[in-house]
């Protein structure tokens, strides 16, 4: 069997049409009398060559040099902008890779067509090829556009950031000054200066605690509420669900700013507690050196903001649970608790594993909560450019936006990214939803 396949592969590449397509995209297709497809492919290659000649080659060289002439704005000399050269260099590399992929697909296509001709089958015309795309390769159709979007707006910035970690971009060195490649310099700085390591350790520990705690709170809070509102004895379910819906509907920047006003020194809560004499005169919840009071407030606000969305999702999933399953369980004499323990919980856990993971990641990177709860930027002693309630992402913000330490921030985020990626991959791969995708089909 294998020998036959090898023989047919060999003969495929000895065919002149396949060779023609290897030399120039679409040429072989033309000779297979697939004129429209061939012409389109040839146009694609011509367009790509034109792009390379007019911009592509220059962009790739720019990626390595990051600019050679420094601009002096006062004297009107327009130099190279290293940062935009970096961006265009990456784009060009991505385009070249995509083109290589298209080239590969083009060869595969012509090999297939030639094989069909040799078998004596009729060659598909353009309309029929489109039909095949709609039917057999439905996934190709639906995934292409999102993939392009994600490449430009999600992958590109990450690659950019990863590359910036190996340059000296930031601090004094921003355009029009020329940026240059410095290898592992930023990583060396992070691992040799104790203030970075100390701050990273403290913030990382708090960040992990925060992510685990808030995910637990939000997920089980949401699940609990969904079950509570699903209780048979509860009347006017639609009415009661309106209250968590308020929390869901109000944008979190409003909620968090609102909570800040409510709990700040001049706000009603602190004022009332003082009036009632329950706390001392110097009591504060949010101040520049408050640590645990602000952290606990963070947990409260996070639950208020996050629980409703999990609740609605869990309600939807609960309603999707097969009614037959419960009927069978009831006939077998299972009580309410047993039904929950052996039917509802496994089913909901199965269907919401991605929710747990995305909640965890969102909470790990929850920028807004402590950004809005502690509006003024004050740095705590023992921390480098951070405060005790800051999460890693707030620290990154301080490093890059407030202090423009781009390459250091990028290097730090690379280290943390490696840590996070490993963690969630392991979590996801060992989760029931990944292992037994088809259990509930």
């Amino acid at each position: 069997m294998e020998a036959v396949q090898n023989a047919s592969k060999k003969s495929a590449f000895s065919d002149y049409r396949v060779r023609l397509s290897c030399i120039f995209m679409g040429l072989g297709q033309l000779f297979c009398r697939q004129f429209i497809k061939g012409a389109l492919l040839m146009l694609l290659e011509i367009g790509f060559i034109l792009f390379l000649v007019f911009a592509g080659v220059e962009n790739i060289i720019g990626l390595f040099t990051l600019g050679t002439t420094e601009g002096v704005p006062i004297m009107g000399i327009e130099g190279d902008n290293s940062v935009s050269m970096l961006a265009w260099g990456i784009t060009t590399v991505v385009l070249v890779l995509l083109f290589a992929l298209a080239y590969y697909a083009n060869i595969k296509d012509v090999v297939y067509t030639v094989g069909e001709i040799e078998k004596g089958n009729r060659v598909k015309n353009f309309f029929e090829s489109c039909q095949t795309l709609l039917n057999k390769k439905f996934y190709f159709l639906t995934l292409t556009l999102p993939l392009v979007f994600v490449c430009i707006f999600n992958v590109m910035p990450i690659v950019f950031t990863a590359l910036v970690a190996f340059t000296d971009y930031g601090g004094e060195i921003v355009p029009p000054k020329l940026v240059s490649w410095t290898g592992f310099q930023s990583f060396r700085v992070i691992f040799t200066m104790s203030e970075y390591i100390g701050t990273m350790g403290k913030i990382l520990a708090w960040n992990v605690l925060w992510a685990v705690g808030s995910t637990f709170l939000v997920y089980f809070g949401g699940l609990g509420l969904a079950l509570l509102y699903n209780a048979k004895c509860l009347k006017w379910k639609r009415f009661w669900r309106v209250f968590p819906m308020f929390a869901y509907a109000i944008p979190s920047f409003i909620t968090l700013t609102g909570f800040y006003f409510m709990f700040c020194d001049s706000g009603p809560i602190v004022g009332l507690l003082k009036d009632w004499g329950w706390v001392k005169e110097n009591f504060t919840i949010i101040s520049y050196d408050s640590k645990w009071s602000l952290r606990l407030l963070g947990f409260f606000c996070c639950a208020w903001v996050g629980v409703p969305s999990v609740m609605f999702l869990a309600t939807g999933i609960l309603s999707n649970a097969s009614k037959d399953m419960y009927e069978a369980a009831r006939l077998d004499g299972a009580n309410a608790f047993q039904q929950f323990r052996y039917l509802t919980l496994p089913f909901v856990l199965f269907a919401t594993t991605p929710v747990i993971i995305s909640t965890f990641i969102n909470q790990f990177n929850n920028f807004s909560i402590f950004y809005f709860l502690r509006p003024e930027t004050v740095y705590a002693p023992g921390y480098f450019n951070a405060n005790s309630s800051d999460l890693l992402i707030n620290w990154m913000y301080n490093l890059t936006v407030e202090n423009r330490l781009y390459s250091l921030g990028s290097a730090l985020s690379l280290i943390l990214f490696a840590f996070m990626a490993l963690f969630s991959l392991v979590a996801y791969v060992t989760s029931p939803a990944y292992k037994k995708e088809d259990t509930y089909r």
């Binding site: 265009w88 709609l134 819906m245 308020f246 909620t255 999702l313 939807g316 269907a351 936006v401 089909r441």
Partner: protein, 281 residues
């Protein structure tokens, strides 16, 4: 089975407990909202003028100022911008997310698991670190101060969250698809006439979340919209002083209204079960 006429005491206790819990939860969710609404009617703008939780004197003055002092607050402009960005992003993202999630859930192809893992890894990357890079890229594409730039970012960002919808599609019984394919329906037909009607709750959920994100987001607009005329409500309200607390509260009220209205109109789909009873084995 015979119906029992009298209520068993344990059931009564359970019912009472459920109602007590529901009341507590409702209060916890309602109180901050009521507080914010009442503060909007505070006759004086400052936070310090509240007596305990509530204003001493109520008036419509804040609203008058919000809408008439157009040199300070171009509120309707901000509102229109926000609505445009959120509505267009919602349509595009819902379409993309559902298509991607369905494809990944239903088809088995070569790079499928790799794509799922890659999505996961991309999602972990701290959003904020991309921002410097995003700013540079958007500048290169001339999408600064441009609402379409935001729409593109939200749409591609929402697509990354398809794993939730995929989890939902995984729970639709595969036997439904097999039956349709046996009847000779094409894959496209199957998607349009079987999957979509079955997943109404999920589509509504997707549409709602992809509307809420752009509507409520602060970080991206504050970075990409420099011009005051292109601001969204989030950026506009955040530019207000601390002493303008009641202006903030009044402006916030109008931001919550469209989403609450949407939810009330669509709520039955959120809860409704899709696939129960579609396949009888």
């Amino acid at each position: 089975m015979t119906k029992k006429i009298h209520i068993r005491p344990e059931k009564a206790v359970k019912t009472a407990l459920v109602y007590l819990l529901v009341l507590i939860v409702s209060f916890l969710f309602a109180f901050p909202c009521i507080w914010l609404v009442l503060s909007a009617f505070n006759a004086e703008g400052d936070l310090l003028t509240l007596e305990g939780f509530f204003p001493q004197e109520y008036s419509f003055d804040t609203f008058r100022r919000l809408f008439t002092e157009t040199n300070k607050y171009t509120y309707w402009r901000w509102f229109g911008n926000t609505f445009f960005v959120a509505a267009v992003s919602c349509i595009i993202s819902t379409f993309l997310v559902i298509a991607v999630a369905y494809t990944i859930s239903r088809y088995r192809f070569k790079s499928r698991k790799a794509m799922m893992k890659a999505t996961l890894i991309l999602g972990i990357f701290p959003n904020f670190m991309n921002m410097t890079a995003l700013f540079v890229i958007m500048t290169q594409l001339h999408l600064i101060n441009n609402l379409w730039g935001l729409i593109l970012l939200y749409s591609s960002g929402a697509t990354m969250g398809f794993l939730v919808q995929k989890g939902f599609f995984d729970t639709i019984p595969g036997t439904i698809y097999d039956a349709a394919t046996l009847d000779g329906a094409s894959d496209f037909r199957v998607f349009i006439s079987i999957t979509l009607p079955l997943s109404k709750p999920m589509i509504v959920y997707t549409a709602l979340t992809s509307f809420v994100w752009p509507w409520a987001d602060f970080m991206l607009p504050s970075m990409l919209l420099v011009d005051k005329s292109s601001w969204t409500v989030a950026v506009g309200l955040n530019s207000l002083d601390d002493s303008e607390f009641s202006i903030f509260a009044a402006g916030s009220m109008f931001v919550a209204v469209p989403i609450i209205a949407l939810y009330v109109a669509l709520s039955k789909y959120l809860i409704q079960g899709g696939s129960a009873g579609a396949v009888k084995e």
